[in-house]
């Protein structure tokens, strides 16, 4: 049994250092396809978050039973069942959003981030850290989706939270912000090519920040030595 990692480490890793979207570059298909508006991105992000938490918890609870030879098919069964449950629940309670997201809800099954966390983390740790890891990874993925969605919606059609009633009911109709009035739209941002470019920029930004963070301790260490 591995030593149990600290909760803060789990959260920081899943959300930032090892972010599924920006560092591991997993689950890019839904990431790029559904991030054209904030609402779509948030809807898929929350669905993925729910699936990740449920799967991690289930896998961790069953980890004593899952022998190495059958762990992968067992993960697949668990993930497929979970995603289908989430899909049915969305169809029942968020029907309009379900219709917009369409095929990308069932396609959560193929998000490698989920089976990746099941294999790399949940199957080796206790239920609570596994649940926390699912939460961290899922919210990290969701955050990247929402940031991409914000950028693309803003640049592509000059609005934010367009169609928010799909997620928040009638109240959402008042949440739409027309950031740039009379905007003529910028098609590239709405097309998949724009998603690739935006993601590339985000990855670059993340790398810059990480590089700075690494340099700072070094620089301060060097400064201390010089003194």
């Amino acid at each position: 049994m591995n030593p149990q990692p600290r909760s803060t480490d789990i959260l920081a890793n899943g959300f930032w250092h090892n972010n599924a979207g920006l560092v591991q570059l997993l689950g890019l298909c839904p990431l790029l396809a559904v991030s054209n508006t904030v609402v779509n991105a948030l809807g898929l992000g929350l669905a993925t978050l729910a699936v990740l938490m449920i799967c991690n918890l289930t896998v961790s609870l069953l980890r004593g039973l899952l022998r190495p030879e059958i762990r992968i098919p067992a993960f697949v069964l668990i993930i497929a069942a979970t995603v289908t449950v989430v899909e049915l629940v969305m169809r029942a309670w968020f029907h309009d959003l379900y219709r917009v997201l369409g095929i990308f809800i069932p396609l959560i099954v193929t998000n490698c981030a989920i089976i990746g966390r099941a294999e790399a983390f949940a199957s080796r740790h206790r239920p609570w850290p596994a649940l926390l890891d699912g939460f961290a990874t899922g919210s990290g993925f969701c955050a990247v989706l929402v940031v991409l969605g914000t950028l693309r919606e803003l640049i592509g059609q000059g609005t934010l939270l367009d169609q928010a009633h799909l997620l928040f009911g009638d109240f959402g109709r008042r949440m739409t912000l027309e950031v740039i009035p009379d905007y003529r739209g910028f098609l590239l941002a709405l097309l998949p090519a724009g998603a690739f470019i935006a993601l590339g920029l985000l990855v670059a930004a993340k790398n810059v920040v990480t590089a700075r963070q690494r340099q700072q301790p070094k620089a301060s260490a060097a400064a201390t030595e010089a003194l």
């Binding site: 054209n36 069953l62 039973l65 899952l66 022998r67 030879e69 059958i70 098919p73 067992a74 069964l77 668990i78 497929a80 069942a81 289908t84 449950v85 049915l88 629940v89 169809r91 029942a92 309670w93 029907h95 309009d96 219709r99 592509g156 059609q157 169609q163 739209g185 098609l187 709405l190 097309l191």
Partner: protein
């Protein structure tokens, strides 16, 4: 194969079967819990789009269940049956709403709801689903553009049949900047629906409803 191997194999198979069984039970349970609500949501979604075309005050029958399906792939150029909802006021036909598929959009099928009143005029057209290019072809959606409203009140007499095309083809309907194929496909689908309605109006309203238990998705 040694005995211990065989036992381990059986254990693994049993374990997988057990997980599969538990998953199926969970799914069966969720399916049963959500089923009535999903059916209700789908009915509501269909009724909401039908009511965009014909206001709820103009008919008094159960619009959703007064339905026939027409199989005429040769005429409509698509394999899917054309579903027709019949609106009646005091049992007198008011209008029909046809769900037709334009097969020749820029990115495949465009599913449309086309409402036609008994004077053979268009009550309204709405796009149910499409995969046209965002920012170009998606101006057929009412959320994006008013273009789809330009069909309101039109018939095969006004404009004349020869004008039922986009301006680029010499017709009366605007195309979009950068997208001609999409509006062309929609205009042609609307014409087909009008022509079908004109030649089959009596049958459309007199045929017994073929409502199935499950509303179309």
């Amino acid at each position: 194969m040694s005995d211990s191997n065989r036992i381990s194999l059986l254990k693994n198979a049993g374990l997988l079967a057990l997980i599969g069984l538990l998953g199926s039970l969970l799914l069966a349970f969720t399916y049963n819990v959500t089923k009535p609500r999903i059916a209700e949501q789908e009915r509501r979604a269909i009724l909401a789009s039908l009511n965009q075309i014909i206001p709820a005050g103009r008919y008094d029958n159960a619009l959703q269940s007064d339905v026939i399906d027409i199989h005429s792939p040769g005429f409509f150029k698509h394999d899917d049956p054309v579903r027709i909802w019949r609106a009646r006021q005091a049992a007198v036909p008011v209008a029909a709403i046809m769900q037709v598929t334009a097969p020749d959009g820029y990115n495949g099928d465009i599913v449309l709801l086309i409402g036609i009143d008994t004077d053979q005029r268009i009550l309204g057209v709405r796009v149910v689903s499409h995969r046209e290019t965002p920012g170009l072809g998606d101006a057929i959606e009412l959320d994006k553009d008013d273009w789809i409203l330009s069909f309101n009140g039109k018939s095969l007499r006004q404009p004349p049949r020869s004008q039922w095309s986009v301006k680029k083809d010499g017709g009366a309907y605007d195309q979009f900047t950068g997208a001609t194929i999409t509006p062309r496909a929609v205009v042609e689908a609307v014409v087909r629906a009008l022509q079908y309605f004109q030649s089959n109006q009596r049958e459309i309203f007199s045929t017994e409803s073929t409502i199935t238990a499950e509303p179309a998705a």
